[in-house]
């Protein structure tokens, strides 16, 4: 195999070269084993043919009247059998070995020589020797051809030595006469060996390509396995991080909830005492101080409530309770608290339910009311002139569900593009200037979006700075059919 490697093959990885050699040798062994079996069959056929030839051409030898079985018949049976049996046994029990093919090659030549003898040395039978060499070429082993040809040459040399007339027809031939006969065999061998060389070269190329293919495939499989393992590890890490993050988030929420609770208790005490103090006899300045205490306390209490609510949402402690309600009523309840404020600012505040909207629905009216109230509150807060409109619209029907599109549209200051992206994140507000002017801690929209998610809906915003904003809620709610109360979400 090494003799057939191309210079470019030597630059290939050692494992590819080793595998190519292994494949080449396996292929050769398999080929030789197959040819061994074929020759075993051929030799048996040739043996039987030689017996038939002897029986037909020279069945008996005569001496006057008398006759006996001809020696050729015995030779065909016993000598032919002796020639054939050993290689057949080797082909059967040890196929693919060097010894087997060498013995098969020798036997093929010997049976040919026997056939020539049995047919009376006919020139035509000599062609079988050349045919046999061509058959032996199937082994793709030049050594078999050489040893088989050597047997032919040895036959001529020995017979020329001991029985020269049997080969050359004369008693005293030239001692080199055998070379003339063997030369024709060698002449054929040259072409056969060349054919063997090219065939082995082709097989070696094929083995090298196969080895490269295997190597490439193994490399790909190895890479895939590595990447899969890396992906698995990354996924596990991500899961662990997610679990840790969730745990940390829950811990944070629990902490906030606890802290909010702890803060509410003394704050309620402060507000209660402030209410008592308000009823006491105080001068004007002291009353203003008490009012300031109550306003600041209420504001702080509202902030704590929002933090507490967000914490409960993040901790998964909030549930959406489904019960029958009327959307027009909810809308009105959300708007009503802001009417005085809107009127005071000279803003038109109106609620519209489009015709065709099924108002009797099933859902969480408390959450929906809170969301709408927050959105309306924001809209009124950031609008100095114009109007704030709440529109409940029909977005379609599907399997006895009302697809609602509730929009809260204002003509206020609008929202900058960079803030719209972060609007629903907790504690995010506009710039510091608006924070100081309008107040708030940036939790209202975050809570709204979380509550809508909890109800299975979505909240989007469209806005242009200076020309108002529109917050749109999309929500699918079942239409009332009978009283039912279902828990549709929760931790």
């Amino acid at each position: 195999m090494e003799n057939f490697l191309q210079p470019s093959d030597l630059t290939k990885p050692p494992e590819v070269q080793t595998r190519a050699i292994q494949l080449f040798e396996q292929g050769q062994t398999l080929l030789c084993a197959t040819v061994d079996h074929l020759f075993a069959g051929l030799l048996v056929v040739e043996w039987l043919a030689s017996i038939v030839v002897a029986l037909v051409i020279s069945p008996r030898a005569w001496e006057g009247y008398g006759n006996v079985i001809h020696v050729h018949v015995y030779a065909a049976i016993f000598l032919g059998g002796a020639i054939v049996m050993f290689p057949v046994a080797l082909a059967w029990f040890r196929p693919g070995t060097v010894l087997t093919r060498q013995v098969v090659g020798a036997a093929q030549m010997l049976i040919g020589i026997l056939l020539i003898h049995l047919t009376g040395g006919r020139v035509e039978t000599h062609f079988y020797i050349f045919g046999s060499l061509a058959f032996l070429c199937s082994y793709q082993d030049w050594k078999v051809l050489v040893s088989a040809s050597a047997i032919v040459a040895a036959d001529h040399v020995l017979r020329g030595w001991y029985w020269p007339q049997s080969v050359y027809g004369i008693i005293t031939p030239s001692p080199w006469r055998w070379l003339e006969h063997a030369g024709w065999v060698v002449y054929e061998d040259i072409f056969l060996i060349a054919a063997v060389f090219f065939s082995r070269k082709s097989l070696a190329r094929s083995a090298m390509q196969h080895a490269e293919l295997e190597w490439t495939k193994a490399g790909i499989e190895d890479t895939v396995a590595k990447r899969t393992e890396e992906l698995r590890q990354s996924t596990e890490q991500a899961k662990a991080l997610a679990v840790a993050a969730q745990a940390a988030d829950r811990a944070k929420s629990e902490f906030l909830a606890n802290m909010s609770h702890e803060m509410r208790t003394p704050l309620n005490g402060v507000l209660g005492l402030a209410s008592l103090l308000e009823e006491a006899e105080l001068n004007q300045e002291e009353k203003e101080w008490v009012v300031s205490i109550q306003q600041c306390g209420s504001s702080l209490l509202g902030t704590i409530d929002k933090v507490l609510e967000l914490s409960r949402l993040e901790a998964g402690q909030m549930q959406s309770v489904a019960r029958p309600f009327d959307i027009s009523q909810i809308m009105e309840e959300a708007i009503q608290p802001m009417r005085d404020t809107a009127t005071g600012k000279g803003i038109e505040l109106k609620g519209i339910v489009s015709p065709g909207v099924e108002t009797r629905l099933v859902g969480d009216p408390g959450n929906l009311r809170q969301i709408l109230a927050n959105l309306v509150d924001n809209a009124v807060k950031f609008t100095s002139q114009g109007s704030v409109t709440v529109l409940v619209d029909n977005a379609g029907w599907d399997w006895q569900k009302q697809h609602l599109r509730i929009s809260v549209q204002d003509t206020g200051i609008g929202i900058k593009e960079e803030f719209r992206q972060m609007l629903f994140r907790p504690f995010v507000q506009g710039d510091g200037k608006s924070t100081r002017k309008y107040g708030g801690i940036g939790l209202g929209l975050t809570i709204c979006s979380r509550l809508i998610l909890l109800m299975g809906g979505s909240l989007e915003v469209t806005s242009h700075e200076g020309s108002g904003s529109t917050f749109t809620i999309c929500l699918d709610l079942p239409v009332q059919q009978e009283l039912e109360s279902l828990v549709v979400g929760g931790a």
Binding site: W62, G64, A75, V103, L110, L114, G120, Q165, S166, G169
Partner: protein
């Protein structure tokens, strides 16, 4: 095992060669053509007689060699093929394959030698025996025209006959004869 195989095969091949090269009994032809023989001599050409055993496989090669020789020297030799026919044999001896072949050869005369009288007269003891007499009736060659038993191909006998025909050598040449024994022509030989 390999050694045993080699020994057996070599021994077998050697035995076969020994058998093939084992010549038959030498004949002793009269130096002068026996005029009393029931076989007419051609006084204008050399006379070649070949004695054959009708059943002898080896004689096919002898006849084949003679056929080639006769095709070269048809106008110089008179060829007669004499079949040794012993007494009391079946018809298939007389109508054997060799006889039929001779009947198809141009310029060759086939003679059935009942009781082997001619064979005895010319001293032929082995199938394939050839005797060659010149125009004056002198023996010039006696022997076989094959190299071994039943082996076709170039051989010393044919070469000697060619030499005799071309040079009319005064010496008597001889070669061994390879073939079946002719016998005396009587059943007692069995």
């Amino acid at each position: 095992m390999m050694a045993i195989w080699v020994v057996v095969v070599v021994f077998g091949m050697r035995s076969l060669m020994l058998y093939g090269s084992n010549a038959g009994a030498d004949g002793l032809a009269p130096e002068r053509w026996p005029e009393s023989a029931e076989c007419r001599r051609d006084a204008n050409r050399m006379n070649l007689l070949m004695f054959l055993h009708p059943k002898c496989f080896c004689s096919r090669a002898s006849l084949s060699e003679l056929e080639k020789l006769q095709s070269h020297f048809n106008d110089q030799i008179s060829v007669k093929i004499i079949f040794w026919i012993p007494d009391s044999v079946s018809e298939d001896w007389k109508q054997c394959a060799l006889w039929k072949k001779v009947q198809g050869m141009v310029g060759v005369e086939g003679i059935q030698d009942s009781s082997g009288k001619l064979a005895s007269r010319f001293g032929a003891k082995t199938s394939g025996q050839v005797v060659l007499y010149d125009q004056q009736g002198w023996l010039k060659f006696q022997g076989g025209v094959t190299a071994m038993r039943g082996e076709e191909g170039s051989n010393a006998g044919v070469e000697m006959i060619k030499t005799v025909i071309r040079k009319s050598d005064s010496r008597i040449s001889s070669t061994p004869v390879f073939g079946c024994a002719l016998g005396s022509g009587k059943p007692a030989d069995i």
